[in-house]
């Protein structure tokens, strides 16, 4: 995973609450077997007209927001499905940070695992950042994960909270599975004490087809 330390970039305003995962990327675009290449489908229904042309009113179709690296939105961002295609699409477009008053749980977790930093800030602060972002390219925002501050274009610093372990993983770009595999002996010990009724279906039970 690409580490995330600091980022200075254009923020795009998306003044919507309950941005669901079908809005971030509709199911018909989930038929890929790769993690990359989904950026073109990001916000598909908002971004494109029925004939496939770009909707000129949608923020990410306008300069300078085509180059946005930060997204500012409102409550319950990422609600809906568990599809990791949502952060993959954001990342592939170039978004590395989403700022909102709160996030749906699964999306929140999925973001960290893909090097995207979701930042929770109070609604009033999001509104302020939303205003800043409307100033476009002259109003870049800085995210400093090391110091846990968002720096507004006017230099004002806004502190934010982030889970310590997730912060470390992001800062160092750590592979979570690699970290967990270091606990293999403990996992093995845990398995030893599991009751018999818990044993799984086994690997042979389903190899035949009984149609």
């Amino acid at each position: 995973m690409t580490p995330f330390t600091t980022l200075t970039g254009i923020a795009a305003p998306l003044p919507l609450a309950n941005v669901d995962t079908d809005k971030i990327i509709p199911a018909r675009h989930l038929k890929t077997i790769q993690r990359t290449g989904l950026g073109v489908h990001l916000f598909d229904t908002l971004r494109y007209n029925a004939d496939g042309s770009e909707n000129p009113d949608f923020v990410l179709n306008r300069e300078p927001y085509r180059h946005a690296e930060v997204l500012i939105a409102y409550e319950n961002f990422g609600c809906g499905s568990s599809r990791e295609h949502a952060p993959w699409a954001l990342l592939d477009f170039g978004i590395r940070c989403v700022i909102a008053p709160d996030f749906a749980d699964i999306f929140h977790g999925n973001s960290f695992k893909n090097g995207i930093l979701p930042i929770k800030l109070p609604r009033a602060v999001c509104e302020q950042l939303m205003e800043d972002s409307r100033l476009g390219a002259n109003a870049r925002v800085t995210i400093d994960l090391e110091r846990q501050v968002v720096i507004r274009p006017n230099g004002e610093e806004i502190p934010f909270e982030v889970d310590a372990l997730r912060r470390k993983m992001l800062l160092e770009g750590l592979d979570e599975i690699g970290q967990t595999l270091a606990h293999t002996p403990a996992i093995g010990r845990y398995e030893q004490q599991q009751p018999a009724w818990l044993s799984g279906p086994g690997t042979t039970a389903l190899t035949s087809t009984s149609a």
Binding site: A17, L30, T180, P195, L198, L206
Partner: protein, 471 residues
């Protein structure tokens, strides 16, 4: 000192902590892992790239459901090359990694959240995950079951664990007797209408109370299924005799002495009196009516006797804008009676409502009636086994005679990844769980309802209070 009283969630959580990291994050053991074709390819690819194996193939199971066609000729004709590639990729991965797999031609194939309980893979007291948010369904058995993203799918495949912070406890108590014509679907829609789509964020919801206890397992699954629609991490219902009777005899459930030991343990799981809940919500079942959604998220829901809300009556400006936007998308006018809204398509299926009980409820309304002209009505059983049982009971005949389509198992029009989709502007009455814009196909308009309500809409051609049709 006596142990502090614990909730159902607290007990299952504690029994699965392998280790606690210094910051309080738990390494949580996962007992069962269900996988499907849409959210697993990148996870297996990740394992391959790093030379890792599946730690517990025997606790993992794979099935195709999301984008398989539901037409009778589907074994020979998956016409969408990308869907075919996802299915072929899963079939290659299960062989390479030794994961048990239920192929399309196996009668046990079906929606992952239908077959888990049906085959006895989902059990009380276990942790169960799947790369799909509606994994909360399995909480109906008294399991801790939740949806995960693809990175976590890979993490579970490689380590059989997840790094998790404990969730907060919430309890929704539904007491009283559910009125005639109301179902588990109406209960859960009423709950979401009350607490909102983010009402459960950060929490695991335990559903309790006499109206929940009175539900059969299918109804409990419907309720837990939609916990995620309230933003909850998971939903659960304490296991009881209804649960034990359901589990006994299922293909992969424990048997004999193992089952007895398991039941003795499962009986210790219900929340202790005095267990702490961070949030409590009470609902009187008697106040619930058949529900229907009018907007583009599941909290935009009203009793069928209601009218489309008027944005002008909403004092909060942002909320007013949201209502207006939803009405524009749904092509509804303020004050319009909900039971006068005409529909084009009826979809009875999905992991929310495709079990035998759901199909019986639909058939009971359809019996002796006929689907209205210009309405297309699909019934998609949740699994091959549900389909078989329904056919043994003659439900397929009742539905076919009434003009419904009777299809093969899969997710189908729940999310429009397979050929079953709404076309732009089409309006559906659907037993699925999400009414987001475009969920059932681009430009499609979804009204979420119970199976009986969906069947009622099919025969009248409009959203209908099913109580008018029930004797």
């Amino acid at each position: 000192m006596a142990e502090a009283p614990r909730s159902l969630f607290d007990k299952i959580w504690a029994a699965h902590v392998v280790e606690t990291l210094p910051d309080g994050t738990a390494l949580l053991y996962i007992d069962r892992h269900l996988t499907h074709e849409v959210t697993s390819p990148q996870a297996f690819e990740g394992l391959r790239a790093s030379g890792r194996k599946v730690r517990r193939p025997d606790a993992t199971i794979a099935v195709v459901d999301h984008n398989v066609p539901t037409s009778a000729d589907r074994l020979t004709a998956i016409n969408e090359p990308e869907s075919a590639l996802q299915i072929a990729t899963l079939e290659k991965n299960v062989v390479e990694f030794g994961v048990p797999y239920i192929p399309l031609n196996d009668i046990r194939q079906g929606i992952v959240h239908v077959i888990g309980p049906e085959l006895g893979l989902s059990l009380p007291g276990i942790t169960l995950v799947c790369g799909d948010s509606h994994t909360s369904t399995h909480g109906a058995l008294g399991a801790l079951a939740f949806g995960i993203g693809t990175s976590e799918v890979e993490h579970v495949l490689a380590t059989q664990t997840l790094l998790q912070k404990p969730a907060k406890n919430m309890r929704v108590t539904v007491d009283g007797v559910l009125p005639h014509g109301c179902t588990a679907k109406d209960i859960v829609l009423a709950i979401i209408g009350r607490i909102g789509t983010a009402g459960g964020t950060g929490h695991v919801i335990e559903f309790a109370g006499s109206a929940i206890r009175a539900l059969d397992m299918a109804g409990r699954m419907t309720v837990c299924n939609m916990s995620i629609e309230a933003g909850a991490r998971a939903g659960m219902i304490a296991p009881d005799d209804t649960t034990f009777a359901y589990v006994a005899g299922r293909q992969f459930a424990p048997k004999g002495a193992d089952l007895e030991k398991a039941i003795a343990y499962w009986k210790t799981l219900p929340s202790d009196p005095g267990a702490h809940f961070d949030r409590e919500v009470q609902i009187d079942a008697a106040t619930i009516a058949p529900m229907v959604t009018w907007g583009t998220n599941p909290e935009a829901v009203l009793p069928i006797t209601g009218v489309v809300p008027d944005p002008a009556a909403e004092p909060d400006l942002e909320r007013r804008g949201q209502i207006q936007r939803m009405l524009d998308y749904m092509a509804l006018t303020p004050g319009q009676k909900l039971d006068e809204v005409p529909i084009d398509v009826v979809f009875i299926g999905s992991c929310t409502n495709s079990r035998i009980e759901d199909i019986r409820a639909a058939a009971a309304v359809a019996r002796g009636r006929h689907v209205a002209p210009n309405v297309r009505a699909l019934v998609v059983p949740g699994s091959g086994l549900v389909k078989k049982q329904a056919e043994e009971e003659g439900l397929d005949r009742i539905l076919l005679d009434a003009g419904f389509e009777w299809r093969e198992a899969g997710c189908s029009m729940c999310l429009g990844m397979n050929p079953d989709k709404l076309t732009p502007g089409q309006r559906s009455a659907s037993t699925s769980n999400r009414n987001f814009e475009g969920r059932q196909g681009p430009g499609g308009r979804t009204h979420l309802v119970s199976p009986a309500m969906a069947a009622a809409a099919a025969v009248t051609g409009r959203l209908t209070d099913v109580r008018e049709l029930l004797a």
